[in-house]
Symmetry: C2
């Protein structure tokens, strides 16, 4: 358990960052990663804006619309950095549209509460996952990724709404617990798909000659940490993981 998300790349300087980015495979992987995060945020904006329509009142509508706006607000800095790295930002996002769109197509909320749980759990899972990867990257990329993770869905508003709805109707708790498991399963399916398709991205986790990577055991522990945090989030909502 020596790894921690902030571990291996600790102490990298800006100069090391530029050096790392001279490795074309590393650079390609960073472009992939930033593009995947950016498309994920655009897509989250669209889904949350859609969920806002299900809001039972104007105050709830504004709360979820604000989450949508927060997600979109991060796209600009990712897009600018992608351009700076010499990529066409929108072309770089294209390879991730299918997996992320599929995730959303398979997890379309059927009501307001499923939408809230998805915003909270989905955003949290994505943030944990990218934060884990960011720990193995150059300092500048890592800082950018961390700044672009929104915690948009991690709001007290969602916790309050879901907990009081379950109190009023305990059967809802059972349904939403299953829903949370389905979200986790679908997220893993699509993440594996991306890892299989994007060689540079999966090579990133394996490390390079002068860059520490993750062996299989470390990857296993990374997924344990992500799963544990998912369970903690479900518990915050008053749901069994």
């Amino acid at each position: 358990m020596a790894e921690s998300p902030a571990g291996p790349a600790e102490g990298s300087t800006g100069e090391e960052s530029s050096l790392a980015l001279e490795d074309p495979q590393y650079r390609e992987a960073v472009i992939d990663l930033l593009a995947a995060i950016a498309y994920g945020e655009i897509s989250a904006f669209e889904r949350l804006a859609e969920d806002a329509k299900l809001a039972p009142g104007l105050e709830d509508k504004v709360a979820i619309a604000s989450m949508a706006a927060t997600e979109l607000g991060h796209v600009t800095m990712l897009r600018d950095r992608l351009a700076e790295l010499g990529a066409d930002p929108y072309a770089a996002m294209a390879p991730f549209r299918e997996a992320i769109d599929q995730f959303h197509a398979h997890t379309a909320p059927s009501d307001w509460y499923e939408g809230l749980v998805k915003a909270f759990v989905g955003d949290g899972l994505a943030a944990d996952f990218y934060r884990e990867i960011a720990a193995y990257l150059d300092a500048r990329t890592r800082d950018l990724i961390i700044a672009s993770l929104s915690d948009a869905g991690h709001s007290q508003f969602v916790i309050d709404r879901v907990r009081s709805a379950i109190e009023a109707d305990p059967r809802l708790g059972g349904r939403l617990a299953l829903w949370g498991r389905r979200l986790m399963g679908e997220a893993l399916t699509q993440a594996q798909r991306v890892a299989a398709e994007r060689e540079a991205l999966s090579a990133l986790l394996a490390g390079g000659i002068d860059r520490p990577g993750l062996d299989l055991a470390a990857i296993g522990r990374m997924f344990s940490r992500i799963t544990e945090r998912h369970a903690a989030r479900m518990e915050e909502l008053g749901l069994a993981a």
Copy 2:
């Protein structure tokens, strides 16, 4: 033509602002006005997020989604000020939902370009109208209103897209010119409806014992200015007003 939007209230101080707000009818009118603007921005968010789906590409989608996010970003300060004035912000918005929802129901864009023109022309019209009214209010309310007007739709992006589409297909110019006139007509219809229904708000324009107001001739000139600016915006888009 002595009035200018920044005219009559010029030089009001914070102290005068508090005094003005002690008049219950004035206060009620200010609450109405801020609530109408806030609901207008929530509603604009929803419509722009919907229009984003029509975008022909990811870059265009992000551009229009960013306008949506900008509109929503202004709601927070209006909501906070409404609460500070002792109003329940969402209850205060309720009387304006019908007129604003009707405006959007009657002007649902049938394609991407109608959506772009609506974003540009509709946002511009609303901003001109509120800026004209703001000129007759206490300094603090005026500053808040001006800060909450987004220019979200007034973007070079819209001008570029619409102009190049018309160049490629001149018939589109004719259709969009009619569309712009319909937007203006529908906006006036709903504005008149609100003025007829909300006495405090229309009394605001008429002025009070110690507050300058607008006579009919001045209101006429105000509408001339708004119409002229609308025509200028249509021209920027390459459209006949």
